[in-house]
Amino acid sequence: MMTEADYYAFFDDYLQDRLEAPVRQNLERRLAADPVLAERFADYQRLTGTLHAYGQRLRVSDKLRAIQAEIDAEQETTVETGRANMPVMRISRTEQWLREFWQGHRATMGVAASVAIMAVFATLLGLQWWNTRNITSPAGYAKLRLEVAQLKNAQKKDRRVMNQVINQIGATPPPVQGKFSGTGFALTSDGYIVTSYHVIQGADSVLIEGRDKQRFRAEPVFSDVAHDLTILRINDRRFNGFGRLPYTVKRRQAELGEKVYTLGYPREDQVYNDGSLSARSGFEGDTGFYQISIPVNPGNSGGPVLDDRGNLIGVISGRQMDVQSAAFATKSSYLARLVDSLSAANNPHVYNLPKQNQLTGQTRPQQLRKLQDFVFVVKVFE
């Protein structure tokens, strides 16, 4: 009786062709006839086949690793410079890794860097915008700021301190008809009106509206940007004169401490306010302006400042944000000088400034009653 091991020896001899011909033929016949034997033979073949293949796999795997190691050894320390006449460069593994990293990711890193830079600048700009925005509350502030900046440029006042922002009082929350509004007052009885330059700055058209709600179209005829003054002319066929003006324009400087008052349109109705002349210079020592202690609001710009005797001493221009009731008014002497120079110009129009003052010696309410018809809303359309 043959054991299985004996059969394996037998199969081995058969496969190695070590059997004699009759034995071999006998085995072949038995393999064809006996399925059990045939399966045993197939198992043997599969087993040794797998073993051989497994051995080969391990050997070849070693060979491949050896080849790879050889290649690595060649490449490890040298980098081809790409030019035949250049010596090869020897670099460390770390540096090589860094080089590969840079080669592979430089585009990504470039994008990341630019995004970071943009983010930094966006944050800085955003913070600045947010800070400046937080200083004020009224709507339409940006516009105001713009006017401030331009006015101050014109005045060559570059030494502006951030927290001393002068606020032009040229804009009220707009009524439906106009985008901005301020105050103006009659300069002559034949239809010349004075207001602040910044009120009509950038205007497409200007409307004058009196206390009686009558409206006239007007156009600027001259502006003095440095002193924030504009002269408008009513340009309307329905207009037929203001009548005699009750006040006169003071040509000299007013005295410190004089009682002064103004009438203006910070809202839809005329509003009266009074105070004293606090200083004979304006914002940051500008000698073209007075400082007056009248509480003024956006919309008061361009309003007349009168003294006790009914002399026009100034035109409201702006206020200082961080100081209580410090308003500024253009000195009337500049207005008078402006009118004089216009009258003397080549194509003169005769400006008949009022000569006679009807307000002197009267009580404040009486003065106001006479004055109120000569103060107007200036509505600006852009």
């Binding site: 054991t3 299985e4 091991a5 004996d6 394996y8 020896a9 081995d12 198992d43 043997y44 087993l47 040794t48 797998t50 073993l51 051989h52 293949a53 497994y54 051995g55 080969q56 796999r57 391990l58 050997r59 070849v60 795997s61 060979k63 491949l64 690793r65 080849i67 790879q68 050889e70 290649i71 590969e100 592979g104």
Partner: protein
């Protein structure tokens, strides 16, 4: 290449590898390595991963050639590229990083590599089982069989190493070991469903 090495045509390479010429194998290995490294490194792999993949791919090719069952309908380069591409896709899927797309740098053709890879997988499974069976076989059978089949030692050498009185003794011992290995191997082999 241009490094003073002989350049082979595909036919020469195939013939060389079929006859077990190591120089042909090394030459082929060097020649097509860069392509595969490029493929893998450009598709979120490292160079070491690329080398692993490439060795696996070359192994598939090599075993098919040695078996004589390779039906090469294209250049060796294209075949290797297809195999390695497939292997790398599989690796990426295992890593869960496969975005469903691979940037190709070579024309990718149907090369029969897919079927060859399925064969290779089956072979891998058998080898794993075999290695396990050998471990469970225990000494001295394991060293005897490994020495003969895996390390390619001669019977005389093994006889001396294991202290058998003569080669016939060693041979008989080998057959007994084979029978035991057969049982271990085929029980496992048949336990697992053939895929």
């Amino acid at each position: 290449m241009g490094k003073g090495q002989p350049s082979y045509t595909d036919e020469e390479l195939l013939a060389g590898i079929r006859h077990g010429d190591d120089r042909a194998l090394a030459h082929m290995y060097r020649q097509y390595l860069p392509t595969v490294i490029h493929l893998v490194t450009q598709n979120s792999g490292t160079e070491d991963e690329a080398k692993d993949i490439y060795q696996e791919g070359v192994m598939v090719f090599y075993e098919k050639v040695r078996e004589g069952t390779l039906e090469l309908s294209c250049q060796i380069k294209t075949y290797l590229y297809a195999v390695c591409r497939r292997l790398w896709l599989k690796r990426l899927a295992e890593k869960g990083r496969y975005g469903g797309r691979l940037d190709d740098f070579e024309p990718y053709l149907e090369t029969g590599a897919e079927a060859d890879l399925a064969d290779a997988e089956e072979r891998d499974r058998q080898f794993a089982l075999m290695s396990e069976a050998l471990v469970r076989l225990g000494e001295p059978c394991r060293s005897l069989l490994e020495g003969f089949y895996l390390l390619d030692k001669s019977m005389q050498q093994l006889t001396a190493e294991h202290g058998y009185t003569n080669a016939d003794n060693a041979k008989n011992q080998k057959y007994k070991c084979l029978v035991r290995l057969k049982k271990l191997f085929f029980t496992q082999y048949k336990e697992e469903p053939l895929s």
